[in-house]
Subunit: 441 residues, 2 copies
């Protein structure tokens, strides 16, 4: 873990670390598919024009071009920096082949040319789920998506987390109700609350959003509200303000929080400070913090957007959530919060008595493999002690021996226990069949 | 499948096509892990210097640079064009943390800036296995690797295939024995046999390798030998020629072919025309053709290299094989040789009687999910006929109904059969649990 990588910002895992990452990816996939999400992958490159449509982040983009390009006729290409922009393009291009509402998960690497500091990576894996409608998408998708993601996170050995949920319509309705018209400017200021504090946000509200001291105070009072149950509704009402957007947003947020409380108790909180920087969110917005690791920032964020993409008159509203997998796995590894029962897939190492036994040893291995056991065979007939040490160093729990009479024994090298065994029937205990990733004791 | 993609050379699958690709990737992973191979992923980018070390292919490389880079101080980066070069770097960088012999599989995208024609892709997925030693690596790894890959390919619904195996030492020993010293030039000419034919290869042998007509004839006679059993040994001997390299190569190739014949009957052939263009192979070389799809070229290639990488005096010999997954999946899809039992993960679609039933419907879904069934719930209480059509269009086999008395029924929409069911106990038949990818009838 203290290894330095040869390219800063580009992480590579050792095989035993990769097992932890694989466990995370497999678990996410299982939960997503259990809830009916289909896998999609998009190409790694987009045209620069596609990537710049959402604006603001051009300096983070990695351009891609053939080293020996002969002409400039080719489209300017770049690596995608998230999975939302490529998915939007994919939906428009393939709309005629997709059944809406379309629910997909997408687990892929993304690239950002940022300064590699503060746990930021230049290459990292995201895991996204989105539900996208054709023209319209029922609000309950916002509820369902949060439930699915909370269950996915619950299935990972990451400890306690909290989904912080807010609703843009609630915030904007409230701002309008107290006379603040430039709601985008208010949201941008409120978004900085955790970073720069109340006082400077108040100053910014007055400077950039045209707020009076009193209006700034009220906007900050709203952002102060954070409840695990539905009591946030009363507290918002107590601040006064009447607006139909506010009512609509309150009702939606109450439905999300109520349903999360019912289906994944203790995982969600209504947090009215959550603003999300990005302009395209229009309703529910989500962030997620690991309890005790707040400094990591949000490990899973997203929201509702009324138009993920559009093609002519056709518009595709959606709601999505995205996990930053690499940051999560990196924290699990550096903090030692997880442990893998072993470092390699193999459960059994078949030792060699003589070099000529290799074929027979492969027969033993094949008999075990046919029942789903991961097995490897020694490559050389070294002393048994040396072969055992090799298996031990690699973390393989069982070593198999066959004597010159063809009698078989298998040794659990953790306990030292060695017993007679038949390759046609023996299997390791269930918990030793494959490496398992567990929360550290 | 007849869709045109918006960037030529960059393929994207529809969700139902992605299921086929996932099936291929899952199957490969399972077979590789069953034989003790660990997963490794390397970063997508390398320094240009690393990529150019193996020479010759610079024009195919995609360079990568930040669009807004402020200075030229950063290393010149590029996307990897295969998984061998990155793996070699990974081994050297992490040698202190790896246990040798190290067996890894690596399944990732690679990029090549070639003209996208003739089934060539600019982005495609490779699946590689390699065994790498520290200083030395027993020859039997060459045997084992071919067995593992043949089993992996056997597990895929791709029809009949043939591993064509040769040995560089055999060829080079033979050329030396008949007086041809520039064995590299001979191999380069022989490598073109399938493309340009005997006559032009003979001419090239005389031009570039200094061969007489008789020597060219003999080199071509060797390349003509192709046997499914060990009879190639006799046929090589019948050509005359004595050289210790030839003897060593013959013995190795006989061991590979004999063991393949024993463990994966009918899958291998000794094919003495296989040369492999790349310079770094030093012993066994492999190619693989799909029977009846020879025009596809080799779908899985590789070989033994005495030095995958080196660090100072330390050298890492290895043997590797690489499947071109995208080309394979593309062929499966365009030829219709496989079929998926359905297009989405969901086995059950829970219909809604009224919009207010959504919570209860999610409870039904959760009961089923708790037993490993993939379920989604309707988003709107439309007419049952419409909900059934929606499930049908998506290929979901079962639709679940709950009446106003709370009584449950489940309908198999393929047969129309509808029966009473309990969400706490009902499960779909084993064959309907998850989508399955099968050879087309």
């Amino acid at each position: 873990m203290a290894r330095t990588t040869s390219l800063s910002g580009f992480t590579e895992w050792l095989p035993q670390e990769r097992l932890v990452e694989l466990h995370v990816l497999d678990t996410l996939r299982e939960v997503f598919e259990r809830h009916g999400f289909s896998s999609v992958e998009s190409r790694a490159v987009e045209t620069v024009e596609t990537l710049l449509q959402k604006g603001e982040i051009d300096k983070e983009i990695y351009g891609v071009s053939r080293l020996q390009a002969q002409d400039d006729a080719e489209a300017r290409l770049a690596l995608h920096f998230d999975l939302t922009v490529p998915f939007a393009r994919y939906v428009v291009e393939n709309a005629g082949h997709l059944a809406f509402p379309f629910r997909r998960y997408q687990i892929q690497k993304v690239w950002r040319g940022e300064r590699p500091q503060d746990g930021r990576y230049r290459e990292f894996t995201q895991a996204d789920i989105d539900i996208v409608g054709d023209g319209a998408l029922p609000f309950r998708c916002d509820v369902e998506l949060a439930v699915v993601m909370a269950r996915a996170l619950e299935s990972l050995p990451i400890g306690d987390f909290r989904l912080r949920v807010n609703n843009r319509r609630l915030s904007e309705g409230f701002y309008l109700s107290i006379g603040l018209q430039d709601t985008a400017a208010v949201l941008r200021a409120i978004d900085k609350l955790e970073k720069i504090g109340r006082e400077r946000v108040a100053a910014e509200l007055m400077e950039t959003a045209g707020a009076t001291a009193e209006q700034a105070e009220k906007a900050l009072a709203l952002a102060q509200i954070r409840t695990e149950d539905l009591s946030f509704v009363e507290r918002v009402r107590a601040l006064g303000g009447e607006h139909e957007l506010l009512d609509a947003g309150l009702a939606e947020l109450a439905e999300v929080i109520g349903e999360l409380e019912r289906r994944v108790p203790g995982r969600a909180v209504a947090d009215l400070s959550i603003a999300r920087g990005l302009d395209y969110y229009t309703g529910t917005v989500y962030e997620t913090v690991l309890e005790g690791h707040e400094s990591l920032g949000s490990i899973c964020s997203g929201g509702r957007y009324e138009s993920l993409a559009s093609a002519g008159k056709r518009s595709f509203p959606g709601v999505g959530l995205s996990i930053g997998v690499t940051r999560l796995v990196s924290r699990m590894l550096t903090e030692g919060t997880v442990t893998s029962t072993r470092a390699v897939p193999s459960a059994v190492y078949v030792a060699l008595r003589t070099d000529e036994d290799w074929g027979a040893a492969q027969d033993v291995a094949d008999a075990l493999r046919s029942r789903g056991v991961n097995v490897e065979v020694a490559l050389r007939a070294e002393k048994f002690g040396k072969q055992i040490r090799h298996a031990d160093r690699r973390g393989i729990p069982f070593v198999w021996f066959t004597d010159d009479q063809g009698l078989h024994e298998v040794k659990d090298i953790r306990s030292g226990e060695q017993v007679a065994a038949d390759p046609r029937t023996w299997t390791p205990p269930e918990e030793d069949l494959v490496p398992r990733v567990l929360p550290a004791g």
